[in-house]
C-alpha cells in the first residue's frame, strides 16, 4: 500500500527496483559463495573422478581408474569382502551405533527440557548449557578423553584399585568403543536441538486430552509425543548420520589412526596424491549419503520446521 509520503519523496535507486530484483540482489552474495565454493567444487570432483593419475599428479584424460582401483579385488576375493566393502560396513556400523545412542540420549534430554522444565528462562538456560560445547573445539573434546580412558587413566586406575581388574583395559582408548563414545559426545547436540524444537511446538492440550481420555504416560509418549516429534527426530538423524558417514577426524584421533572409515579412505588417497581416486571415493560417499538423506527427507518437510 503506497503511503502518500512516498510519492513526495525523491525515489532512490533501490526504491525504483521491483521487490523481486531487490531480493535477488540481497541473495546474490550467498548464491555466489555457494556457487564458487560448493557447487563448482562438487562438479569438479565428479569430473576429476574420471581422470587418470600417476604417482604424483592427476592427468586430465578420461579413465575409470579411480573407480577400478577403489573396487580392486572385490570380485577376485569373493566370498571375502574387499577393503572398500569392509570399510563401508565398518562406517555403517559406527553410523548405526552412534545414531541409536544419540537418538535415545537426545530424545530423553529434549523431552526433559520441553515437558518438565516449566519456566522459559530455565529452558533457554539449560538448552544453552547443551549448546556451549558445540561452540568449542572438537579436537579438544576428543583429547579430553585421554586422561580418563588411557592405560593410566582415571577409569583404569579406579578399576584396578577397586580390584575389579588386574591389568588395564586396552579397549577403552584407540578402539571402536572410544570412537563411538567420542562421536556421541560430540554430536548428541544435533539430536537434542531439533527434537526439542519439535517438542515445544506440541500443543499441551493434546497431552491433556490424551490424559483425560485415560492414556497412561507411556501411551501418551508413544501415541502423541513421538509421532509429533518426528520432524525433529528426522532432522537430527540426518545431521548425525551425514556427519558420521563423512567423519575422518574423530575416527582418526580416537581410533589411533587404526580404524578405516569412508572419510578416512579419501584422506589416505589424498595423502598419496591420488586425486582422481580420492574424488571417486568422494562420489561414492556422496551418492550413499544422498540416498540416506533422500529416504529420510521423504518423511518430513524441512522448511516447515524452522
Amino acid at each position: 500500500m503506497p503511503a502518500p509520503a512516498a510519492a513526495i519523496r525523491t525515489q532512490s535507486f533501490i526504491e525504483r527496483m521491483s521487490d523481486e530484483t531487490a531480493s535477488r540482489l540481497q541473495a546474490l552474495p550467498m548464491a555466489l559463495v555457494f556457487t564458487i565454493f560448493f557447487l563448482l567444487p562438487l562438479g569438479l570432483i565428479i569430473m576429476v573422478s574420471f581422470w587418470d593419475y600417476n604417482e604424483y599428479e592427476m592427468i586430465p584424460a578420461l579413465s575409470g581408474r579411480g573407480y577400478t582401483d577403489t573396487f580392486e579385488g572385490c570380485i577376485a576375493e569373493l566370498p571375502e569382502l574387499c577393503t572398500i566393502f569392509k570399510t563401508y560396513a565398518m562406517t555403517l556400523k559406527l553410523c548405526f551405533l552412534v545414531w541409536l545412542i544419540t537418538l535415545i540420549i537426545g530424545f530423553t534430554v529434549a523431552y526433559f527440557l520441553a515437558f518438565h522444565i516449566r519456566s522459559k528462562t530455565w529452558q533457554i538456560a539449560l538448552s544453552l548449557l547443551c549448546t556451549i560445547p558445540f561452540w568449542t573445539s572438537n579436537v579438544i573434546r576428543m583429547i579430553a578423553w585421554i586422561p580418563l580412558l588411557g592405560r593410566n587413566g582415571l577409569i583404569n586406575k579406579g578399576l584396578m584399585s577397586a580390584g575389579a581388574i588386574d591389568a588395564p583395559l586396552e579397549w577403552l582408548l584407540f578402539s571402536q568403543f572410544s570412537v563411538v563414545l567420542a562421536l556421541v559426545h560430540l554430536f548428541t547436540f544435533f539430536m537434542v536441538i531439533p527434537i526439542f524444537n519439535s517438542m515445544i511446538r506440541i500443543d499441551k492440550s493434546l497431552i491433556e486430552a490424551a490424559y483425560d481420555a485415560g492414556a497412561t504416560g507411556w501411551q501418551t509418549l508413544t501415541n502423541v509425543i513421538i509421532p509429533l516429534s518426528k520432524p525433529g527426530i528426522v532432522i537430527g538423524s540426518i545431521f548425525v548420520i551425514t556427519i558420521v558417514m563423512g567423519d575422518f577426524i574423530t575416527v582418526g584421533v580416537m581410533g589411533g589412526q587404526q580404524i578405516a572409515s569412508a572419510g578416512k579412505i579419501i584422506e589416505t588417497r589424498l595423502n598419496a596424491l591420488q586425486f582422481p581416486a580420492a574424488a571417486a571415493n568422494a562420489v561414492i560417499l556422496l551418492g550413499i549419503t544422498l540416498m540416506i538423506i533422500f529416504v529420510l527427507s521423504k518423511l518430513v518437510d524441512i522448511r516447515k520446521e524452522l
Binding site: E20, I132, P133, G246, F275
Partner: protein, 296 residues
Amino acid sequence: MDGKRPRAFYFLAAFFTAYVLFLYGPMFAIFILSFQGPEGGLTFPMNGVSTYWFSKLAEGGGIVNIGAAFRRSLALGVVVMLLTVVISVSAGLAFRRKFWGASALFYIAIASLIVPSIITSLGIGLEFRIIDDLVKNVGPEWLAADHTTWMGLFTSGLGAHLTWTLPFGLLIMFAIFNRFNPAYEEAARDLGATPWQSFRHVVLPIILPSVVGIGLFGFTLSWDEIARSSQAIGEVNTLPLELQGLTTTVTKPDIYALGTTTSAVSFLVIAIALIGIRLLQRRTAKAGSDAGKGLV
C-alpha cells in the same frame, strides 16, 4: 503450576545432570591437567601445580610456530564472522519475498551443511589446483611466469569456512523472520521511511540479538574448523589443524595447555556474545514498546 513434581521428573533430571557431566567433565579434566607441574604427565594424579606448560607454550617450546597459527586462526575467524553476518542477514531479508531461485538456494544451503566436510574440502582443493594449473599453462605471460598458487587462508580457506557457517546463518535468519511481526515495518513505511531507514531503525534493532548469535556461530565454527580446512587451507596451518597434528605425537601436557588456551578464547567469545545478546534484549524490552503506558 500444580506444585508437586511427578516421579519421572526426578529420573529425567538425574539423566540430564549425567548428560551435562558427560558433556563437560572430560573438558574440565584437561583444563585441570594443563596446570600440571613440570614433572607431571598426561594423566592424573597432578604432580604439583604450575603454569609451566603454558609458559613453554608461549615460548613455542617444541611446538612449531603456535603463535603464528593462533593469529592466523583469529584473523580468519573475525573475517568469517563479519562475512557470515552480512551475507546471512542480506539473504535472510531476500527470503522474505518470493524470488526466482529462492527454493534452489535454500536447498543448496542445506546441502552445503550436510554434504560431508571432507568432500567440500576436497572439491575446493581440486578447484584451486586446476585453476593454478590453468594459470601456469595457458595464462598470460606476466601472470604465469611466477605464479605459484592462489590457494590460501583468505581465498580457498575462507570459502571453505563460509560453506559451513552460512547455512547456520541462513537457518537462524529463517527462524527470526518466521517469528517477526511485519506490522512494525509497515508502520515505518506508512510514516515515510525509506527501505534503508526502516531496516536500519526498525528491523535491525529488533533482530540484533539474533544477529549477534549469527556472529557467534560464524566465529566459533571457524575458530575450531578442521575437516573443511584440511584440503583447502594451502601451505599454512590454522590452530586446530596444528592441534590435530599434535594428537598423534602427544606425550606432554603442553597439548592440554594449548587446548585450554584455545577453549579460553572460545569461552571468552561465547561469554561476550551471550552478555551482548542479553543486554540488547533488555534494551529492546525497555525501549521497544510504550503500548498501554498512556501518553509519554
